[in-house]
């Protein structure tokens, strides 16, 4: 399926740098909106529903409303990104949206750090660089290895599994740890990032 060249108020965006600029503006705007949600009552209600649905209800939060809102916002942002992806590719086939793209998108978030805004940017840049790196490596390697199918899923799969196994909170939390190491230099409190044993979880109201 062909996609038309994007039009902005009657002006056709032909050049790739023009499209880049336009997407960049949208990205900044979306990020600002996301950060605003996070610091507003809505964002706090989302944290509340995530951590304890029962006590969020006791505080007057409607969990269903918050869940629907969270789902709607994330779907809206993803939809917006999808629209720009199609303009960038100009030609859409079902093959593009295979398992590899799903893994890549998931990996961007997990690698960067779940639940952080900074993390997504780290993740997206890293995966973008990695993809180019793999295709360069394919050319350099002898064709008996480089020509094998399924190298990309292999690399992405190994990264995904090892991030979940060794650094479940992603690159951003590693950065936070390094920063706190610098701040308190001679004393490093490894324990402060260990998960505390929750009190009396067994008797929690369900």
């Amino acid at each position: 399926m062909m996609v038309d060249v994007p039009m902005l108020f009657g002006y056709q965006i032909w050049q790739s740098w023009e499209l880049y600029l336009f997407v960049l503006i949208i990205l900044v705007a979306t990020t600002l909106i996301v950060l605003n949600i996070l610091r507003s009552p809505l964002g706090r209600a989302m944290i509340a529903v995530r951590d304890s649905e029962i006590s969020s209800q006791a505080l007057g939060v409607n969990p269903m409303k918050i869940k629907v809102f969270a789902f709607t916002v994330s779907a809206a942002i993803t939809g917006l990104a999808g629209a720009f992806l199609s303009h960038y590719m100009l030609f859409l086939t079902p093959q593009i949206f295979g398992i590899l793209l799903s893994i890549q998108l998931l990996l961007m978030i997990v690698l960067g750090g779940l639940g952080t805004v900074h993390g997504v940017f780290f993740g997206a840049v890293l995966i973008g660089v990695l993809e180019t790196g793999i295709s360069i490596a394919k050319d350099i390697l002898p064709s008996s290895i480089g020509g094998l199918p399924g190298i990309e899923p292999l690399v992405f799969g190994v990264i995904l599994v090892s991030v979940i196994a060794f650094e479940p909170t992603g690159i951003y939390s590693r950065w936070v740890k390094i920063r706190s190491y610098m701040e308190f230099f001679p004393i490093y409190r490894r324990k402060s990032f260990k998960r505390q044993r929750a009190y009396l979880k067994t008797e929690r109201l369900r």
Binding site: I33, N36, I37, R39, S40, P41, L42, R44, A45, I47, A48, R50, D51, S52, I54, S55, S56, Q57, A58, L59, G60, V61, N62, P63, F69, S192, R195, Q196, A198, Y199, L200, E203, R204, L205
Partner: protein
């Protein structure tokens, strides 16, 4: 009609009658204590008041509102705040964020204003923050303001949960075992705060408590629940010497 009125309240889980035909009324501005052995159904009464459970029969009235017509999420809006026996704080958020969630019922900004963070949202946020700071001053939590809940000791969490309930600016405060897990000094402190909450903030308090000296110190009336039924109601000296209550705690003399 009384401030809070509970009539013939019953609920059963499977074959167990957890609360069986319980009736009592609470006057505005009083401190009301509910005592009873473990498993007597005290917390179940609170969960019924919070509308987490649907009662089998009975009536719940809070200053002209029928609570049975409302859902769990609407209770806070009436001005009923509560704490939980085993703490239900938002673990992966800071103390300040936890307390600000307590201000949720006072938020009337539309979602798109919040997305754009317009001036009206900024003003409302400043107002919420001011109210939260008042509570922080009241309960002396300033030291912990920006710490994550998951790293805090139990006694402090207990105080934060009380603070979060106070952020609602409630008319009625339900405290589920406020002194459990606290040391002697902290329990004494909790007693002073309950007095202050009643006197200075004008909030009616209902507390479930096992510590009899705390009950004697703060409460006007005491209700004893044994096996889901009301065993005695009255002043703490009357309830403590009531034969049914004594036998429930110590067993029969026979």
């Amino acid at each position: 009609m009384s401030f809070l009125e509970i009539k013939n309240l019953s609920i059963s889980f499977g074959g167990v009658k957890a609360v069986d035909d319980v009736s009592f009324a609470i006057e505005e501005g009083s401190v009301f204590a509910i005592i009873g052995p473990n498993g007597a159904g005290k917390s179940t009464i609170f969960n019924l008041l919070s509308r987490f459970y649907e009662p089998l029969s009975g009536q719940l009235h809070f200053s002209d509102n029928d609570l049975l017509e409302l859902g769990a999420k609407d209770i806070a809006r009436l001005g009923i705040a509560r704490t939980f026996q085993n703490l239900e704080l938002f673990e992966h958020a800071s103390v300040l964020q936890n307390l600000l969630v307590g201000r949720h019922v006072h938020n009337n900004q539309s979602w798109w204003r919040q997305m754009l963070f317009t001036d009206s949202v900024v003003d409302a946020e400043l107002e919420h923050r001011r109210k939260v700071e008042e509570v922080i001053d009241f309960l002396e939590l300033a030291h912990y303001r920006n710490q994550m809940i998951s790293g805090l000791p139990y006694g402090v969490r207990k105080k934060i949960e009380l603070a979060r309930a106070l952020c609602i600016e409630p008319k009625l405060l339900l405290l589920d075992e406020p002194s459990s897990g606290l040391n002697l000094e902290e329990t004494e402190e909790m007693g002073f705060w309950i007095e202050d909450i009643r006197r200075d903030l004008n909030i009616t308090v209902v507390l479930i408590e096992h510590n009899m000296s705390l009950v004697a110190e703060v409460s006007d009336r005491v209700l004893a629940i044994v096996n889901g039924r009301v065993a005695a109601e009255g002043s703490h000296t009357f309830v403590q010497s009531h034969p049914d209550v004594v036998s429930a705690y110590l067993g029969d003399a026979k």
